[in-house]
Every structure is written in C-alpha cells, then in structure tokens.
Symmetry: C2
Subunit: 309 residues, 2 copies
Amino acid sequence: MSSILVIGTVAFDSIKTPFAEADQVLGGSATFFAMAARLFTPVQLVAIVGKDFPHHHLQMFEENGIDLKGLVHADGETFRWKGEYEDNMNVRRTLETHLNVLEQFEPDLPAGYRSAEYVFLANINPDLQLKVLDQLEKPRLVCCDTMNLWIIHQRADLEKVFKRVDILIISEEEAHMLTKEHNIIKAARQILKMGGFSLIIKRGGYGAILFTQNSQVFAIPAYPLEDVVDPTGAGDSFAGGFLGYLAARERMDIETVQRAMIYGNIVASFAVEGFSVERLLTLSRESLRNRLGDFLMMTHLAPASVHVE
Amino acid sequence: MSSILVIGTVAFDSIKTPFAEADQVLGGSATFFAMAARLFTPVQLVAIVGKDFPHHHLQMFEENGIDLKGLVHADGETFRWKGEYEDNMNVRRTLETHLNVLEQFEPDLPAGYRSAEYVFLANINPDLQLKVLDQLEKPRLVCCDTMNLWIIHQRADLEKVFKRVDILIISEEEAHMLTKEHNIIKAARQILKMGGFSLIIKRGGYGAILFTQNSQVFAIPAYPLEDVVDPTGAGDSFAGGFLGYLAARERMDIETVQRAMIYGNIVASFAVEGFSVERLLTLSRESLRNRLGDFLMMTHLAPASVHVE
C-alpha cells in the first residue's frame, strides 16, 4: 500500500441546488479527492488555506489519515466558490469565485513528499501542477484533472502537464472543449495524442469511460441514485476512489484499472448524497462494499451468461 | 422460436444531420423495429402505406422474413416525417409531419395474426395500439413504445395501453415528460405504478436502464460509436433487437431479459451507422456477434475479477 500526494484546492463552497442550499461549507478539489482516497490509503495534502480556516477541519483531515505537512497557512482568506445547479443537476453555473490566498500559492513540497509515487494533480492552475511535478523525484503514477478555465486561458501550460501524466481524468464537457468534437470517441482519439496517458472521461450522471493508448475501452454507467443532494466534488471523489484503489493495490494492469474505475464510481455516488464531505466522512468500508456488490449486479450479466451466442 | 407482431408506422423520412442529409428514405417505427427483430425471428408487420409506396421496399421486407399480410395499402400518400439533429446528435427537432394515410388507419388483423404471442406496439397513436390489443387472443409478451405527442395529447388512452403491457420501452425525455421528475429513479418509480410492466428507459448515446416491479435494476452504457450517421430509428431498433432475442429464446427470466437488452443495444448501434435501414439491411449475424463480444469486453470485468473485496 502506497500513500498518495494530492495538490489542489481547499475551499469554502456556497451551493444552491433546486432542493437545498449550503453556505461556506468545506470544499475544493483536493479536499474531495483526499476524503475519498483516504478510504483506501494515507494521503498527503498539498494546498493553501487562509487564517479563517477553522481548526476543526484540520482535525477532521488528520483524524482521517490525511497528512497536513504540505498544507500552507497563509495570511488572508481561504479560496471561496459559489455555484448553482439546474433542475437536472447535470448543469451548473459558477456565481462567484474568490481566489484569495490561492493567488499567492507557491507549492514547496516538504522533503518527505518528494519521493511520492502516486500523485494526483487535482483541478488547480496548471502552472502549480507543473511546479509540483518539478519537485517530484520519481513518481510512479501521475493522474490529473483540470477545468474549463485552464483549457481556455492556459492551454499551453495545460498541454505541458498532459505530457507528464499517466492518466488524465476529465469531464465530457472538458473533452469537448479541448477538441471541439461532439463525438466522444473522436474527442478521445484527439486527446490521446496530447500525451502518452490513458484517458478517463467522466459523464456526470451517465458514468465514465476509459480509453487507453492501445485502443482498449471500458465503459461503466453511473450508480443510479434516487437522492442526489449536491453533485459538487463528484469528479474529485471519483478520482480519489480510483487512485486510492490503485495505490492500495500497487498494480496498474488493465483489470485493476477497470476495478479502480468502479470503486471511483461508487465513492462518487456516496459523495453526492450530501453537501461538502459529510457523506464521505461517515462512509464505511462495509457500505462501500455493499454498494459495489449492488453495482456489479446491476451492470454485469451473471457469469454463466457472459458468452456470445 | 416465436414470430413477433408489430404495429407502428411505415414512413418516408427526410433527415438533416450536421454532417449529411437524406430525402424521403424508408423509415417509421414499425420499419426499424421489423428490420431489427428479423435478425432473430420472423416478423408480422401491421401498418399502412399509400399508393406511392414503391414495390422494391415491399420486396425488401419480404426478402427479410417480414410478413406483409397486415400491411394496408390505402389511397393517398404514405406518412412523411422531416427532422433535423443538432451538433451532438442527441437532440432532434421535428420540422414537418404529414400523417397522410395514417389518419385513416383502422388496424384489422388478418386471422393468422390474432394468435400472436410476442407483440410490439411501436410508436403510433395509442388508440391504434389499443385496437390491436383488443384483437389479440392471448399475447404472451407485449412491449410498447410511445412519444411526446401522445404523452401530451392522449394521456388517458396511453395509460390504458400501459395497463396492458409487460415491458414499456421509452426514452429518458419521455420518462421526464410522463412524471415531471428529473431524477431517473424517481421517474421510474412513478411510471412503474402506471401498470404492472417492467420499464426500460433508453438514454440515447448513454445506454439504457431496466427497472422491474420487484426493484431489480440493470444498466448498460451505449456501445461507443465513432461515426453516427443518423440516430433516427435507434430506439425502434433497440426494441427490435430486444424483443427479437426474447421471442427467439422464448424465455423471460431476468438473465434473458438482460441479455436481450444488450442485443437491442448492439443492434441499435448498427442502425445509427447509416440512414434509413441501410445498415440493418446488410448486417450479418457475424458482425452482430463480434460487436457483442467487444461490448462485453468493454463493459464487463474479467470473470475472475467480478468479486467484492
């Protein structure tokens, strides 16, 4: 079992859905990733918070196997994001973004972090993702996420990052933005040419699909959920479950990667059942296992039936 | 192996996609269904066409195991539909509908058809679906599709149909229209109360999901396609592959139904690779088997890997 280093954001989110709202709750790409991955393996968190970041969140991270030596405490306020979801929960609008301390973030990895083997470059400025990559001695598996903002405004930096990652994990909308291509296979082919990575495209309430450089494809539907409270952090939680499982297994063969996708999918299905990390926080390995069993029943033919007539 | 009776439309479609267009090609819900189902079992076609319906289409049906004793030839023109697809091919707009001979259609089943055991009520006025049901002696399995028009304007008739079907096959958009519910599970729960049927919700480029009265769920992603030429008829082709497989096997246990969904999914993936029924017409059992094998590889963990850790 290897630990994972994640760089990304720690934030206060204010969220409105058609059914409920939450004000200034703990969020951020690194937060969701870490709280998902820690279900499988210890996590080293590289991020920045302000003076306003409360002690009980720090304590919560530490109690959950998340190492905070890489968490910078800066003067100023913590990054804040405000967003709103439409009726079908698949479309969201950003209402406000206050970078605050993020603007002064210069990641400088603690000595013990530089030997990290499993790394997640969560959604943050690609310039910062590059700075972390430069400090790593010999990472074994680097996964990466991004967002529309960097695709539009920092494409060159982003493509530099892409050249150095093993698995790129982005949303279907981002795949479309990167390529202007609506067909997911055509988009995937173009994106695969931007580096040597495997590609996972997340499809929100419709699941995820993996494309490898040697043309393997693996597609899973989402776990069907009756009560989606807040989709924020679903993608980061998917990545956390995915990479957490891989780091815990220390294997990267295609079957392990496929299983890791299913774990990511299931962890994400829990994440969206509450605001912030509240559902991830209370999630037990047993609930995870049970839902994984349900998912396999819902998506796989009985073994005796898996043949072609 | 049992044959299938289908009632629905036979039409001339004019279609525009972002990439190509086709003018007055053979279409209609019963046409696509029949051309898909005939890959598995003989089909009896109940529909109406006008004087303008060319002999070579009749010949094509007959050469493909489709019995035309139930096809009415009326004075007037064949039903025509004109539509256009948006960039992502998942959204379509109807530009023109000319019912023509459809307005005078009074289905009167040939004597030999009344004993049909497997029946598909393809998308057509629910009043006509009811008239066919009334003439059937003892159907074993009735599946049904519908569309937005009947949900809005003939809800009462539609609900009468629902009470008499075993499997309802509709699109996600139609599920939403029926219930005003965005969450697919909540929508499914409401729809399942409208009758004693199992429900399959088709999700376009995202696959399909089955819900049974006893809370079983089975979800499959779509077969990922690089070249979608024309999505018209995808849903009817899905239903044709689905019911065709069930009628050929003469079984209705859950595993057979799950396999039937996968067959429907694969047949639909071929249907959209051409305009009209051109790809279904040339489709061989071998191509079908090969893509089915690919699909299982793309969606199923290797058997040894299907366990919960």
